[in-house]
């Protein structure tokens, strides 16, 4: 779960509201007991907590990827972390995306300046990458969560 960028708050509030865009219900977040006519006790059955469900890992549009390098450390995404990527969510400026820029898979914050798309690293040592006319940009998906192991074991 990444921190929101401080500069984001200076942007239009519209952007902040689109992390779960309309039209993409996330049923796994709101568990309901199956309907029918069950025994009264069933009303009180609770299932085990499932990270699969919380992160939407079983949804057909959700994929995992591993982060290489520290270009996103400013938002708390570090080398070796796992990221949960949703292909169905519309990539809006301010969201962290997986993008293929000239076929190179990148994790960056998507920004837009007028008509100009920018892929921004969250690390001062990486210059922002302006997407130029001859560049080929493919937005592969939007990063919803990141998962970090705090031991030497791989996440």
């Amino acid at each position: 779960m990444y921190e929101q960028l401080s500069w984001l708050s200076s942007m239009s509030i519209d952007y902040l509201g689109h992390i779960d865009a309309p039209g993409h219900p996330l049923p796994l977040y709101s568990f309901t007991v199956p309907a029918g006519f069950p025994s009264p006790a069933q009303d009180h059955i609770e299932r085990e907590i499932s990270l699969d469900e919380l992160l939407g890992l079983r949804l057909p549009q959700v994929f995992l990827a591993r982060v290489g390098g520290d270009s996103m450390k400013g938002v708390g995404i570090f080398d070796g972390d796992l990221v949960v990527v949703d292909r169905a969510i519309e990539a809006k400026p301010g969201l962290i995306v997986i993008a293929a820029l000239n076929n190179e898979p990148l994790i960056k914050t998507l920004c837009k300046d007028g008509d100009q798309f920018i892929l921004r690293s969250e690390n001062a040592t990486f210059a922002p990458r302006y997407v130029l006319e001859n560049d080929e940009l493919l937005i592969w998906g939007v990063v919803l969560y990141s998962i970090r192991s705090h031991t030497n074991a791989r996440a």
Partner: protein, 424 residues
């Protein structure tokens, strides 16, 4: 009330194996791809742009130079990846139609009877949602019978650019127009031999077949050919099981009559489907090395908890033994099953098929006895592996075959944590 007019859609993934290889390799979007059979034997799949250069079934060792010459990239088959992406595609399709049945790893028939939406629009919706969610391009054919839907799908592929990958021939004028431009060999279930017989009778196009006398077709050939002709006329009469196409996978998938919540009836269903799939396997004289089991709830009802998961199970040796495959499938089900869901469908997919003489040439394969003791030993192996989840990845014990395959195999992007896509 009047019964709604029958209507079917066939959703078919474009060059499925090759498309899977491209999902995590944007650099290969415009690079031709071939996928090789187990042990890197021969070509089993080609991307559209590789088709002009490479024939189906060409042995890998014979075409190496040709691959280099045309810049074609070869992959060993990565069944874990294909199985996972197939499941995702089917789940997305399920979310858009009430009743769909996987016909093979990359095809699903949808029953659109009673759908109120304009059908072509629904077809485009299926196409765009599957592409966006999974990265896999599909074609959609829509018609009043399954055979016509298959033909419409063929047209969607052949005239990809003009049709945008969706062809609806529920309208009889459009249907007849298509029948007239398609060769009889384009028709579902009409193989090369049958085509020769038919052209000998002056039946050259799909239209000719549709107009042929059904009784003559039945007498000279079979009920199947007769039914195919009737289907082309728009009269639905083929069940899914009746059509046998040459298959690289065998799929048995059904909707349950009622939703199942307990594991016992699911087990029966899985065992029954496995038995049916094994019959099909033996009927085409193949052996299989991997079986994929998946169970799912309906995806259509937004108010019910949804579930769609599958696992791939590596079989100890290429086999057509129902007992071996059923046991593996049932073990896989126990791994998959979770309380609290109303399951609507189970699916058995037999993968990595081979002919009996294809693998005996492998001197380094472990000695294979098909005795019961071996079967039990294998089961123990499977169960031991289940606990650690290794079976799910489709990983094979170290054998020469596996070593060789690994050289060209893409990572198991979706099923192994240590092989995930790396982004920088």
């Amino acid at each position: 009330m009047q019964e709604p007019k029958p209507c079917f859609a066939l959703v078919d993934c474009n060059s499925f194996y090759a498309s899977c290889e491209r999902v995590f390799r944007p650099d290969l979007a415009r690079v031709p791809i071939v996928v090789l059979s187990n042990n890197d034997g021969c070509v089993v799949a080609r991307s559209a742009d590789a088709k002009p250069f490479i024939k189906m079934g060409e042995p890998y060792f014979q075409i190496r130079e040709k691959l280099v010459q045309h810049g074609i990239v070869a992959f060993s088959s990565n069944y874990a990846l294909y199985g996972d992406l197939s499941q995702r595609v089917m789940t997305v399709i399920d979310s858009l139609v009430v009743n769909s049945t996987a016909y093979s790893i990359d095809e699903a028939f949808c029953d659109l009877g009673g759908m109120t939406l304009p059908l072509e629009r629904l077809g485009r919706q299926i196409r765009s949602k599957v592409l966006r969610y999974t990265g896999i391009p599909v074609g959609v054919g829509i018609a009043g019978t399954k055979t016509l839907a298959k033909l419409a799908n063929h047209a969607a592929k052949r005239w990809q650019r003009q049709t945008g990958g969706v062809v609806d021939i529920t309208d009889s004028v459009r249907r007849d127009k298509l029948l007239k431009v398609c060769d009889v060999s384009d028709v579902w279930g009409i193989g090369r031999k049958m085509t020769e017989h038919l052209t000998g009778m002056g039946i050259n196009t799909a239209w000719d077949l549709a107009k042929a006398d059904p009784w003559t077709l039945r007498k000279r050939f079979s009920v199947l050919v007769e039914k195919t002709a009737r289907e082309l006329q728009g009269v639905p009469c083929l069940e899914m099981d009746e059509i046998n196409s040459p298959k690289q996978e065998i799929c048995c998938s059904r909707m349950f009559g009622t939703r199942l919540t307990a594991i016992e009836p699911l087990r029966e269903a899985v065992a029954a489907y496995a038995a049916r799939a094994c019959e099909k396997l033996r009927a085409q004289n193949s052996l299989c090395k991997k079986v994929r089991v998946s169970i799912r709830t309906a995806m259509f009802n937004p108010d019910e908890p949804k579930f769609a998961r599958g696992v791939i199970c590596e079989l100890p040796y290429p086999t057509d033994d129902t007992r071996v495959i059923t046991k593996a499938a049932v073990a896989a089900l126990s791994e998959l099953f979770q309380e609290g869901f109303k399951f609507s469908k189970a699916e058995i997919l037999l993968m990595d098929l081979r002919q009996p003489n294809e693998f005996t040439a492998d001197l380094f394969a472990p000695a294979q006895s098909k005795g019961d003791g071996r079967v039990m030993h294998v089961l123990d192996e499977i169960n031991a592996k289940w606990g650690r989840g290794t079976l799910r990845t489709g990983r094979v014990p170290v054998t020469p075959e596996w070593n060789m395959r690994r050289e060209l195999k893409s990572p198991s992007f979706t099923t192994r944590l240590d092989e995930l896509w790396t982004v920088r």
